[in-house]
Symmetry: D2
Subunit: 198 residues, 4 copies
């Protein structure tokens, strides 16, 4: 239906997270409407991304600048005794925005729904173990995976994996989120909210 070069780009945009062919088509028409200069700016930004942005050799978070460590990992004021494992980069950013956490992070790179070797190998579990062993100053490992089925399965796997390292292992607290109503809360959440009252 679409000319081949439009269809090609629709296919490429359809691989972007959360994007289906309909939105992908709107992206292409958007690109056709903006100026040549704007297209160039976009193309250059995408091309330069991998050149400019480095992956932190400790936490796997992308960063820009000198050295091998990201801004958080190279910040001497951060609490080196805390390591927070997150599923993905955006979760790290979300946690940073709370300004309530002053420790270090580790970007796991996903979740597992099963404990199959193939699935687990996609995660940076080997590197995680190495980091914790190489840094005895780490006292507490916070597993901050989502409280979803996959996040829970991953947390369970990590707990088993990290147990021999003899660190304090914690999870994010369960409870009622802002705006919730008791009446619609599940029993587990409400039970945690009761136990965690203060």
């Amino acid at each position: 239906m679409y000319p081949p070069s439009i269809q090609k780009l629709i296919d490429l945009f359809s691989k972007f997270p959360t994007i289906g062919p309909r939105t992908a088509a709107r992206f292409v028409f958007y690109l056709m409407k903006i100026s040549k200069e704007e297209v160039e700016e976009l193309v250059n930004s995408i091309s330069n991304l991998k050149k400019t942005v480095k992956i932190c050799s400790f936490c796997f978070n992308p960063f820009e600048g000198e050295g091998e460590l990201c801004k958080i990992c190279s910040d001497s004021s951060r609490d080196k005794s805390l390591l927070c494992i997150v599923e993905k980069e955006t979760d790290l950013i979300t946690l940073e925005k709370t300004k309530k956490y002053k420790g270090l992070y580790f970007v796991l790179g996903g979740t597992v729904s099963t404990f199959k070797k193939k699935d687990i190998e996609k995660l940076k579990t080997k590197e995680l173990g190495e980091r914790i062993e190489a840094h005895p100053e780490i006292k507490e490992v916070i597993i901050a995976t989502n409280p979803t089925t996959e996040g829970e399965a991953t947390a369970l796997y990590l707990e088993r994996l990290l147990k021999p390292l003899n660190k304090k292992i914690t999870r994010l607290g369960r409870g009622l989120p802002v705006g919730a109503e008791l009446e619609y809360a599940d029993e587990e959440t409400l039970g945690s909210a009761l136990e965690g009252r203060k």
Copy 2:
């Protein structure tokens, strides 16, 4: 549009919580379809409700049976040192279902969005104060209002009101509910989840 006696009943059902005129109309047509015996059963159940069901003289929860106290309030195995204030009867039931709470309850009868005298008088705050003063065995008062704007305002009001009584005052724990994703959590919820990690 509807015959007067149908319209009258639509108007009465439209006053039921969450019900608009469209659903109210469906209720009436449902009643016209069921058997005479089923209508009678419903009518008798409604008529007998206020005769059979009593309001607990301590917690204001409806109950059936002998005496002035509901099953929870008259249960000697419940922990009398804990008093949990809920907005409404269904919240009490929801908390009971968790089987994590063994103390007593107090049904406040609603929430306030402002601290206007007129609004506050709808709540059983006077009775709440009396109960706590009359029962020195109460050590902790758990304010289990919803973490919504109105629930928070009500909790704030109750905290001020109860402060002079010198009891431990707690609130339900904030955190991530089952199934949540960090990325979409608000900063306050996530901050609480971090602080409440365990």
Copy 3:
């Protein structure tokens, strides 16, 4: 969890269309809060419903008043050559509100998802055939079932059933509803909108 007479009423309200046990519970607590007079008014309205309201002997729409025919069926200004078959009473009311239809109605009493004898017998198809045969002045039969899967199956069944009666049989027009967007319309709807352009 609830006292028996509350649970009983919750069970009865849970049979109401669209109502689950949670909303049913809120209904009961609503009834406990309103005055004795208001409860009596409701109970009387429900009790009197079947006494006051009659079912029209032609169209099966409920009505109040003298005679055997409802206000629409006994209105001499209505166009007796048109018969509109609707699934349920509220659909009749919805069509009346448009003020675009001046013919008569027939309330079928439901839809079928299969052509099983057992399912079809719940509908007033026998009476429908009798009405049309007894009223040769009917020229057009409008099948106004919902354009849902069940409504379509029912319409198909009715078309076959009524074919031998040699009346003009029509269906409500398909097209784009107010507020729709072409982009999200299904192909059948859009095709009909193109064909039905004017």
Copy 4:
């Protein structure tokens, strides 16, 4: 929070239709994860878009290939007496997919919510008038704007604009879409469905 070159790309993706900063961030992390070859493929596709794709000199639809006319406009089997005005390119594709329309199109380039000169000048109304005047074989102009408030206002404006050209002017048919329920249909839609019965 993000390194500058990531933030820059988040800002650029946030300008894409329907995309907010959160999804834009996920796009960037997606780009960081895919291979260098895949990034290059994307960048080349975007860069080549404006070089390869031309805008049809008749209907303003993008196309690829020889000449000045798109595949539809240069297809001698299409019905040249019909011109269908659509808001945007994706609406054209959606209509083509129905396979019910065999005439020509004209991509208006948007809608107006007011009849302000400034707003109207964004649309290709001048070119539309020129096309119709230059092509006396056009007998019917179908205004296929969305049945939304903006689409309706635009249709009204176009009807006034095209009136002096003495062509048959039609609109897409209103009615019930597939899957709709009478009970929830607005009166205008239902009135059209009644009038358009067949």
